[in-house]
Structures are given as C-alpha cells and as structure tokens.
C-alpha cells in the first residue's frame, strides 16, 4: 500500500463521539479554531468518515455505540489512523466500573495514538496529531 503525496501535506480528521462527556468534543473544536489554528498545516475536520485520514475517537464506548464505532471505522479508507482522545477512551477513566461500557476503545477498534487527559488540552491534541503524522511517515518509509 503506497501513501499518496497529498497525504504528506494534509490530514483530514473525522471526529466520533462514543459516549463522551463533551469535554473532549469542545476541546477538539477549540483546537480547530483560530486560537490554535492547525488548518495552516492542512488539518481539518470533515463531515464524513469516507473523506477522512484520521479518526478521532472520544468517550468510553457505550454498549449502544460499539457496533456503530466498528461501522464508522470500516468506512474510513486505508491507510488510516485512529487517535484515542481522553482518559476514558484509554482505560474507562472515572467510568471504569460502569455496567454499560464495551470499551476501552482499543477493545473495539485498533488504536494508533493515545492522547491522555480528562480532557486533554488543545496543545496535547495537536501534539498527538504530530505523532500520528510521524507514524504515517514511518509507515511510508517502511514500504
């Protein structure tokens, strides 16, 4: 699988909420607004998983959302990366003992980059995207 040239320059991101408290959502939207402005690097949110390179997943994955998460993951075209934003997607966070969770996220779909924090700061999310980029470059170099 060869990565296209345009992929080196811009990352399009689809955001998927799997039962999060909205804390990570507002930080993700805050990240794409002019105060932090990652769009100068070509990073932008898109409306469909079919247009996306990166899937940002937030939340602890409730039982009702788990099949939908898998479906969205399958709709993202290859090569793709999954970023898990927030502590509850990594370990359950404060919701660790809930009866209604199928998560953490890596139990449902494979995750490439973890951004910890409850919620992570916009700077941390941008740092996570940079890490995702580096991983894609490594993938490309290996081919």
């Amino acid at each position: 699988m060869k990565l296209t040239k345009s992929f080196n320059r811009s990352l399009w991101v689809f955001h998927l909420n799997t039962g999060s408290c909205n804390g990570c959502e507002i930080e993700i939207v805050a990240t794409i607004t002019p105060h932090y402005d990652p769009e100068r690097f070509g990073i932008k949110l898109v409306g469909s998983p079919k247009h996306a390179d990166v899937l940002l997943v937030t939340g602890p994955v409730t039982k009702m959302m788990a099949p939908k998460v898998r479906r969205v993951y399958e709709q993202v075209p290859d090569p793709k990366l999954v970023m898990c934003i927030g502590s509850c997607g990594q370990s359950g966070g404060v919701f660790y003992d809930s009866y209604n969770l199928d998560g953490p996220i890596d139990q449902v779909i494979p995750v490439d980059v973890y951004v910890p924090g409850c919620p992570p700061r916009p700077e941390a999310i941008i740092y996570g995207v940079v890490k995702a980029w580096e991983k894609l470059e490594r993938l490309e170099a290996a081919q």
Partner: protein, 412 residues
C-alpha cells in the same frame, strides 16, 4: 401518471444519526418527510448512557463530586454544584459566604463560555463558519480565565462539599476585571454580527416556533422557555449561592426585537443578553466579595465521617446555561448515597423539539435542533430494556411512569 403523483406525495422517512456531522453527540432522529417539509419527528436518545448514577451509589460524596464534573464537560460546575448543594442540605453544612461568591463567579463564567460556545455552534449550523471561528476565538478568553481560577479548562474540579477548593487572590480579581472589560467591549460587536445580519434573521425569525402554551405544557426551561416568554429562572425564583444578594432578573426577548415570539431568533437574543447579564453579575460579586474561609471543613477524613453519619434527602437546584438542573440525593448513614438522581436541563427541553420541527424544512433541522442547546451526555440517564431489546415508550407510558415516580418520591 396518477401513480407517479401518489408516489411523490407519499411520506418517506429520513433517518439522521446517531453519527452525523450536524450532531455533536450521538442521538438518532427519524423524520417523516413530505417533499422538503417535516411531517412528524421522533428521536431516540440513549447512546451516551454510562450509568453514572449507578456508579455514584458505590462511591462516597467527595468522590462523586468529581464524577459529576464528568456528567457533562460543558456544564462542569452546574452538576457538581447542584450535587454539593443537595448533600450540604442533608448534612446541614453551612457554606462560607466567600465560597458562595466564588461559586457564583465561576457559575457565571461558565454560562458565558457555554453561551459563546452555543453561539458558535449555531453559526456553524447556519453555514457561517467565519462566525463560528470568531465566537470561539473570543471564547478562549473566558477559558483562560477559568483555567487561571480553577486550574482546568474543562471539568474544573473546583467545587467541594462545603465550599470551593481554591480561593481567588487579589491578582486574580484584577484578571477577572480585565476579562469583563474585554467582553463588555465585544458585546455590541457580537449583537451586530448576530442580530443585524439579514441572512441570520431570515433563517431564524419564525422558524422552530415554540408557543408560550406549548412551552408551559412541555415543561420547557432555561433560555428555551424564556425565548417563548416564560419568565422563569432558578437564580431569581429560588436564589442559591450568592444570588439572593444580587440583582438577577429573568432575561426575556426585549420589545425592540418585537417581544417574545418563541423562535430560533429569540433564543439567540436571550443567550446574547444573558452573556451581558453574567458580566453584570460577576461585577456585582467582585464589588461585594466578603472575606473569610472558602471551605467548611478542610480535613477530608473529618468531612467524610460527618457525611457518613448524615441521614435524609434533599434536592439541589441550579440554573444551568441550558435551564434548571436538579440533583436528588438520599443518604442513609452509609459511605455512598442510597439514591442519587440527576435531572439535567436538556431532559426537560427535548420534547419541545417535536412542535418546533413540525412543518419545517429539512434544511432548517440542524439549527432548530441546536437551538435548545441539547446536551445528550447530561440527559442519557436511563435506558429501559425489556426482553433484551430497548423499548420505545409512548407519551402515555412516560406520563404513567412519571406519576408513579412522583408517588414513589412523595412516600420516601
């Protein structure tokens, strides 16, 4: 030919969600459409149910305060405050006046950032992304201020049973005043951008109507109810924290904009005016801030042992940015509360979607849905599962359940 005509006029269903770019949170809508016009609408929440109340009944109140922060990331202080107020009433804890004032200041700062956030989302739903970016850029000022005061941008963790965990220093008061001056200068610009724009007026005026009567019948609350002309505000009707000392009136759409009509435009007006009101309230708090302690009991083990002995039940009511938020807590001498029930503001406002969306065009659906500022993570508390499948409850069933529950509560 005849067959074709019947085919065109036959109502068809458009499902939207639970994952959809117009929705920030997972919720499922089913629209019955005739052409471009919505004939009827049904929605299915429940995707964000995490069982928070169940978890809370296994933790002690000091731990639950941090869990309540995570009910909803936008109304961080609202849930922790109303839970803390319920527990304080049960254990008869008297919150120091300075803590009450600090709570009020943070409560209003949160309202400002939440309304700015909403204004941005509304602009985005209308297709004005430049306006989204403008409002979110100015919102960062309030986020910086909140971070300076609490240590966190979101999920502040500032409220503690019996007070707040951090005091506000004199330097920070200066910072707050600078922030208020910034927003005062900005408000006129925001009003011009939102209210003088003919496109926004055309998209919002007369759309998503919720009449005064419907708002009453469906128990709408908060800015949604006030935009329909219902003068209700917990801060005014049942003052808590420092609101009793302050001058707070419910904000209704003013006569210069034609008085309350209950459409999307009125909801924008109410929220913009409430930002101005919040600035005013914070200024009043700063002017009359009392000195003293900020915590009723600093030693956590002592506080926990007092809470463990507490018996009784109470309701904590708070006016969230979206409307009244209510926490019912019953303690029976154990570490964890015996009952904990959360009624978030969106829960009361959801039903107003049905009259609002009826007869509207599909293209107006995103802004009308956004106009009540829905928050699913606040709302998804209970999922009814019978015989292994989620049940759809009819309105009669819900009324019946609601009556049963009122009877149950009145018995305890």
């Amino acid at each position: 030919m005849n067959g074709d005509t019947t085919k065109k006029s036959t109502p068809y269903t458009v499902p939207i969600g639970p994952v959809h770019p117009a929705l920030k949170e997972p919720v499922m809508f089913n629209f019955l459409m005739e052409g471009e016009v919505v004939k009827s609408v049904d929605f299915a929440p429940g995707n964000v149910h995490r069982g928070i109340e169940w978890m809370g009944m296994r933790r002690n109140p000091v731990q639950i305060v941090h869990l309540t922060d995570r009910i909803c990331g936008i109304c961080g202080i609202v849930h922790s405050l109303s839970f803390a107020r319920a527990v304080e009433q049960i254990a008869e804890i008297e919150v120091p006046p300075r803590a009450d004032y600090i709570r009020t200041i943070l409560h209003e700062l949160e309202r400002m950032q939440s309304h700015l956030l909403w204004a941005g989302v509304a602009a985005h739903e209308l297709g004005f992304d430049s306006l989204l970016f403008l409002t979110w850029r100015v919102r960062e000022q309030s986020m910086d201020l909140i971070e300076n005061l609490t240590g966190n941008r979101v999920n502040y963790g500032i409220v503690q049973i019996g007070g707040v965990r951090r005091d506000i220093s004199n330097d920070q008061i200066l910072l707050i005043e600078q922030g208020l001056a910034y927003y005062r200068g900005l408000l006129d610009q925001m009003k011009t951008v939102f209210l003088d724009d003919s496109t926004i007026r055309m998209r919002c005026r007369g759309h998503g109507l919720l009449s005064y009567r419907d708002a009453q019948l469906l128990c709408a609350i908060g800015p949604t109810a006030r935009a329909s002309g219902l003068a209700m505000d917990v801060r005014h009707d049942y003052p808590y924290c420092a609101y009793g000392d302050l001058d707070v009136q419910p904000v209704l759409p003013p006569q210069e904009f034609g008085g309350p009509q209950g459409d999307v435009y009125d909801r924008i007006i109410v929220r913009l005016l409430e930002i101005a009101q919040s600035i005013d309230i914070i200024q009043q708090c700063l002017d009359s801030m009392p000195a003293g302690e900020v915590l009723w009991e600093k030693k956590l083990p002592k506080l926990l042992s007092i809470l463990k002995k507490a018996h009784g039940e109470a309701i904590g009511r708070v006016e969230a940015p979206r409307g009244e938020c209510m926490h019912y807590v019953r303690m029976d001498g154990n570490d964890a509360p015996a009952t904990w029930k959360v009624k978030a503001s969106t829960y009361s406002n959801l039903m107003s979607w049905i009259p609002m969306l009826k007869g509207e065009q599909l293209a107006d659906v995103p802004i009308i849905v956004a106009s009540i500022d829905p928050c699913m993570s606040c709302t998804d508390r209970v999922t009814i599962i019978r015989n292994g499948s989620a049940d759809d409850l009819t309105k009669e069933d819900l009324t019946q359940l609601s009556r049963e529950k009122t009877r149950r509560f009145s018995r305890c």
